[in-house]
């Protein structure tokens, strides 16, 4: 279920790249601060393990097909979310380059879909809540299967949304969902069962590995996560509201000009110039006029009177996320700069 460049619009691809890059930088920052240099070779070798492990398949009884581990959740359990996210990013980068799974622009989407959800959603919120501090075999198995399944459902939902909003395929959202989610429920279950098998094997053979992995997680991470989620919710909220507002009033500036002059257009001395600029703007912007291209066609608007309305809200969300992602990126880059300056002083 790798997302592909061919199905992606530059806007969506860019936003996902920015979000993924920010998460990678954030995770790298977290891992480097732990100063446990044992982890670096461990991460590299476990990344290679994910490839090797995906070659070993087990037969699913009665179906003739076979399943293997996904890797994301297993890495999160063994390494913790930040190190696991970095490792999975490197796995997917190698897959994109060598196996041509997806593509370079879609790499952002793929890392997000297959890495972010298992490491930052299903591991901390599902697996950890079920397994808690004292793992026992039953809890380990249930937690692993549930976390893997839900993680993959979220990932496949994300693929559907990215494909849909890119607007390259003609598949309606609903039928695409109906096709994708059940297939990935089955795949997710197989993955979960495979991962649970490995985890319970390790638990029987060398329980201290899992114990160590559990206890290595300092509790101080929760506030940061909450802050990020809060920011995300705030951005989505304001993006949605503002875009809705923007669709009612053509544009903040145009609106105020209208109030001042009674005419929404500035009377330009050279209309040619204005037209040319507008043409350039239309050509260069990937969210022209804050609505998706499809919604501009007359036939769609007739069928769905709210077409441009929802389109505008969505582009507001996307724009908001883009701003958030770039802001995060700038923040972390600045922080890293300062840190490296500090290191070099010492």
């Amino acid at each position: 279920m790798h997302m592909a460049d061919a199905l992606l619009s530059p806007g969506i691809g860019g936003v996902m790249w920015a979000a993924t890059a920010a998460t990678i930088i954030y995770s790298a920052h977290k891992v480097q601060r732990q100063l446990d240099n044992r982890k670096i070779p461990l991460m590299g070798v476990l990344g290679a393990f994910v490839f090797a492990a995906q070659m070993i398949n087990f037969a699913i009884p009665g179906t003739g097909s076979s399943g293997h581990i996904g890797g994301g959740l297993l890495l999160a359990i063994l390494l913790g979310p930040h190190a696991a996210f970095l490792t999975l990013s490197s796995v997917l980068t190698v897959q994109a380059l060598f196996f041509a799974d997806g593509g370079l622009l879609a790499l952002g989407c793929n890392i997000f879909n297959l890495g972010f959800f298992p490491c930052f959603i299903s591991y901390p919120f599902i697996y950890k809540n079920i397994v808690r501090d004292k793992p026992d075999p039953r809890r380990l198995i249930i937690g692993t299967i549930l976390a893997a399944t839900i993680g993959l459902q979220l990932g496949s939902l994300s693929v559907v949304l990215q494909t849909y909003f890119s607007g390259i395929t003609a598949l309606p959202l609903f039928s695409f969902l109906v096709m994708m989610q059940p297939i990935h429920l089955a795949i997710g279950l197989a993955e979960g069962i495979a991962t649970a098998g490995v985890i319970s094997f390790i638990w029987n053979a060398r329980p201290e590995i899992l114990d160590r992995a559990m206890n290595e997680q300092p509790l101080g991470q929760v506030p940061v996560r909450n802050i990020i989620i809060g920011l995300l919710v705030a951005t989505v909220f304001t993006g949605g509201i503002l875009a809705w507002y923007a669709s009612e009033h053509p544009d903040g500036l145009e609106w105020s000009i209208e109030k001042v002059t009674g005419n929404s257009e500035i009377v330009s001395s050279s209309p040619d110039m204005h037209e040319k600029l507008e043409l350039i703007q239309q050509k260069t912007s990937f969210l022209p006029d804050y609505t998706f291209k499809e919604n501009k066609s007359e036939s769609l608007n007739e069928k769905d009177p709210f077409g441009s309305y929802t389109g505008s809200t969505l582009s507001g969300l996307v724009g908001g996320l883009l701003v958030l992602a770039s802001a995060l990126l700038i923040g972390f880059v600045l922080k890293k700069r300062k840190q490296s300056a500090r290191y070099s002083q010492n």
């Binding site: 279920m1 592909a4 460049d5 061919a6 199905l7 619009s9 530059p10 990678i24 930088i25 790298a28 891992v31 480097q32 240099n37 044992r38 670096i40 070779p41 461990l42 590299g44 070798v45 990344g47 290679a48 393990f49 490839f51 090797a52 492990a53 070659m55 070993i56 398949n57 087990f58 037969a59 970095l86 990013s89 490197s90 796995v91 980068t93 190698v94 380059l97 060598f98 041509a100 799974d101 593509g103 370079l104 622009l105 494909t163 390259i168 395929t169 003609a170 598949l171 309606p172 695409f176 069962i193 098998g197 490995v198 319970s200 390790i202 590995i209 050509k283 291209k293 880059v333 890293k336």
Partner: protein, 270 residues
């Protein structure tokens, strides 16, 4: 079984191509990463029904294959191998989008067919560009390039380590599967209880290996910081390559070469 072996050696072959020597191979890896990204963005920025204007972009992979002397059939086979997901998503377009957009004589072409062809063209161009990047640059050089371009150092180090041990561990898992197959007689697939043991053992071996590697690194003065020493130089030829590629992509992106050419031929020929 033999399929696994082939897939494994296939992986090595792509990397072997990067060992070749050509003008493209000698370029600074950063320039190649940037031009590849630029190319992909130009290709996918078209409208979903665009077919004819995508075609001129094939000149870039063609030039690369030509100058860098790469095996076309091998790259094409890799391309076809990964196409199923794109096909799966695109194949429904002709059934869903039945609006006729193009008339060729008496033949009516619907929007769905146009967008399916467009998706396949985009797929070939973007994935092809990625494969060409690795075949002309090599994985270690790409890792160093993305580090120089601002990716966190630990990420680059991780990629290098993963790549180093990828071959070791894949070989190990192939050995395990071979040992199982030899003992399992006619049973083709691995049953779940045995799968657990195989994979668990592989994981334990991997963890032990990581520990040994760490100790080996410590005894070679590893302090948590890996030093990557490689000379990067941005010379005249890098600048020319970058400027030339950018100019080419922008030219193809904004000027309808196929349309102008087609018009010219229609007008003079008919």
């Amino acid at each position: 079984m033999s399929r696994l072996d082939t897939a494994f050696y296939d992986l090595g072959r792509l990397d072997m191509l990067a060992e070749q020597d050509s003008i493209i191979h000698r370029l600074d890896p950063r320039v190649k990463v940037i031009t590849t990204l630029l190319f992909i963005i130009c290709v996918i920025s078209f409208d979903k029904y665009e077919v004819s204007r995508l075609i001129p972009f094939f000149i870039f992979p063609a030039l690369l294959i030509g100058i860098a002397d790469l095996p076309f059939n091998y790259l094409l086979r890799k391309l076809i191998l990964v196409s199923p997901f794109v096909l799966f998503v695109g194949i429904f377009n002709p059934f869903l989008d039945r609006e006729v957009l193009l008339h060729i004589g008496s033949l009516q072409v619907t929007g769905g067919w146009l967008s399916l062809i467009s998706i396949l063209l985009r797929f070939s161009l973007t994935v092809g560009a990625g494969l060409l990047l690795i075949a002309t640059t090599g994985f270690p050089a790409i890792c160093m390039a993305i580090k120089k371009l601002g990716a966190p150092k630990i990420f680059a180090v991780l990629l290098l380590m993963l790549y180093r041990y990828l071959f070791v561990l894949i070989e190990e898992s192939i050995r395990m599967i071979r040992a199982y197959t030899l003992r399992a007689f006619s049973r083709k697939k691995i049953r779940y209880p045995i799968f657990k043991q195989l994979l668990g053992t592989l994981l334990l071996r991997t963890l032990d290996r990581a520990q040994r590697i760490h100790m080996a690194m410590l005894s070679r003065a590893f302090t948590g910081d890996i030093k990557i020493s490689r000379q990067f130089s941005f010379r005249t030829q890098e600048f020319i390559y970058l400027a030339g590629c950018a100019a080419l992509f922008i030219f193809i992106r904004f000027i309808d070469i196929s349309g102008i050419l087609g018009k010219f031929i229609m007008e003079t020929g008919l």
